[in-house]
């Protein structure tokens, strides 16, 4: 079970990065490209957060690491998902 969770955490990088992908990019790019870009954003975001928290002397916690992405997601995800579904139907 922990192995599966380990993989899901890494496979979820695009979900973590998706709220930070600009809407204009989601409209213009193919969903596959959006997934790739979201994955990079998720990875870079996590890495940056971890370096910054270490620098600040704050111990890593899942909640703190997810916070920026989750905050934005709560605001943007419904509209982003609508667009992705629309784009998938279109392609």
């Amino acid at each position: 079970m922990s192995g599966l969770l380990f993989l899901v955490a890494l496979a979820g990088l695009p979900i973590l990065g998706l709220p930070l992908v600009p809407s204009s990019l989601i409209r213009k790019l193919h969903p596959g490209a959006v997934c790739g870009v979201a994955g990079v954003i998720g990875a870079v975001l996590l890495c940056t957060e971890m370096v910054v928290l270490t620098w600040a002397g704050v111990r890593w916690r899942l909640s703190a690491l997810i916070l920026p992405s989750a905050g934005l997601a709560s605001l943007r995800l419904p509209s982003i998902l609508r667009r992705v579904v629309r784009a998938l139907r279109g392609s």
């Binding site: 955490a9 990019l25 790019l29 596959g32 990079v40 971890m50």
Partner: protein, 355 residues
């Protein structure tokens, strides 16, 4: 073919047939230790016994492993092997997503299958499962896809820039790749806007690199990024290096991966995009050669251990040069240049010709 190639990669990685001690002694250990410490464990990295872990090596994969460890509750060594197919699939999805509008569904699907087979074979042959190389390849493939197939819009440049930032934070050679790609873009791109575009693309990578080096300096982590510790190249071991590179570059398969990418561009056309990708490949080969020539002792073992992995980057760059030759005539021809109000030249040059 994609599914077959991908299935073989999953099998080889999942059964530990495609991994090496790097996962146990370097990437995995760092990730597990960082997760236990809840931080980038500077004290652990500074210990003299851990010299071969390169204290200032870019932190992306150990951080991602730590993230997964925090989520799962423990470091899952078996699951870490499957990061190879995971990052390969992300690379393939990114490639297909950027290639689909430029090549059409059929061609993009065929090229994606070839990419998965080619890169998958090299990754298995060079024991990359659980290492940072698949993650680096994902970032490189994303950046090259955005530049080769994109239409030169700010969003695609941004995607390439993010890929380069990821590459810089993943491995030292990611910085070399980023510098070469930006340099080649400047050299072969056209139009006055290329300087602005190159600056926009390079900015995330530059910020990432400067921030990481600043972190290392502040915490006394000095190894690879300490310029004073670098040795000049000599030709003492030139013959050993050249013969070693030729041997490792064959991938035990009579250079078939290289023949495949050369044949793939059977209609090689001289476009700016082709030149840019070839320049990245040639520049990276030069870097690899230079790096081994700096070795104060016989670099034979060093080459056996790392050369075949390093050569994946030029191989992928030549693959993209071949792709640039395949882009149908006229793609991007409708892209208007905002600077001069004329259509760009097409012929696959849309992404790097001046807007």
């Amino acid at each position: 073919m994609t599914i077959l190639a991908f299935g073989l990669v999953v099998y080889a990685a999942g059964t530990a047939r495609a991994t090496s001690s790097d996962l146990l002694l370097f990437w995995g250990t760092k990730g597990q230790r960082f997760a236990q410490a809840g931080a980038i464990d500077v004290g652990f990295l500074r210990q003299p016994d851990h010299l071969l872990m390169h204290s200032d090596y870019p932190p992306m994969l150990p951080c991602l492993f730590a993230w997964a460890t925090l989520t799962a509750g423990r470091f899952a060594w078996g699951a870490a092997l499957l990061t190879l197919p995971l990052f390969l699939s992300l690379a393939a999805i990114s490639f297909f997503g950027f290639a689909r509008p430029a090549l059409g569904l059929r061609s993009a699907s065929e090229c994606t299958a070839l990419l998965v087979a080619l890169v998958g074979f090299v990754m298995i042959d060079t024991f990359m499962a659980g290492n940072a190389d698949p993650l680096l390849a994902y970032f490189e493939i994303l950046a090259l896809s955005a530049l080769t197939f994109g239409s030169g819009k700010a969003g695609e440049d941004g995607a390439a820039g993010l890929g380069l930032a990821g590459a810089v934070l993943t491995k030292v050679e990611g910085t070399v790749f980023a510098a070469l790609l930006i340099g080649s873009f400047l050299l072969f791109g056209e139009g006055r806007s290329r300087w602005r575009r190159a600056a926009a693309m390079g900015a995330p990578a530059a910020v990432a690199l400067i921030a990481w080096i600043a972190f290392c300096r502040k915490n006394g982590l000095t190894s690879i990024y300490s310029l004073s510790s670098q040795r000049p190249a000599t030709i003492t071991h030139l013959s050993v290096v050249v013969s070693g590179l030729l041997r490792e570059g064959s991938y035990g398969a009579a250079y078939i991966p290289w023949f495949v990418v050369v044949v793939l561009g059977f209609r090689w056309r001289d476009t700016a995009s082709t030149r840019m990708n070839v320049a990245v490949a040639v520049g990276f080969l030069g870097f690899v050669l230079y790096m081994y020539l700096t070795s104060p002792t016989d670099p034979r073992l060093w080459i056996i251990w790392s050369a075949s992995r390093l050569l994946l980057t030029p191989l992928v760059s030549i693959f993209f040069a071949a792709m640039a030759s395949q882009i149908p005539r006229g793609v991007g021809a409708s892209t208007l240049s905002p600077e001069i109000g004329l259509p760009s030249r097409g012929d696959g040059e849309a992404s790097i010709s001046g807007r």
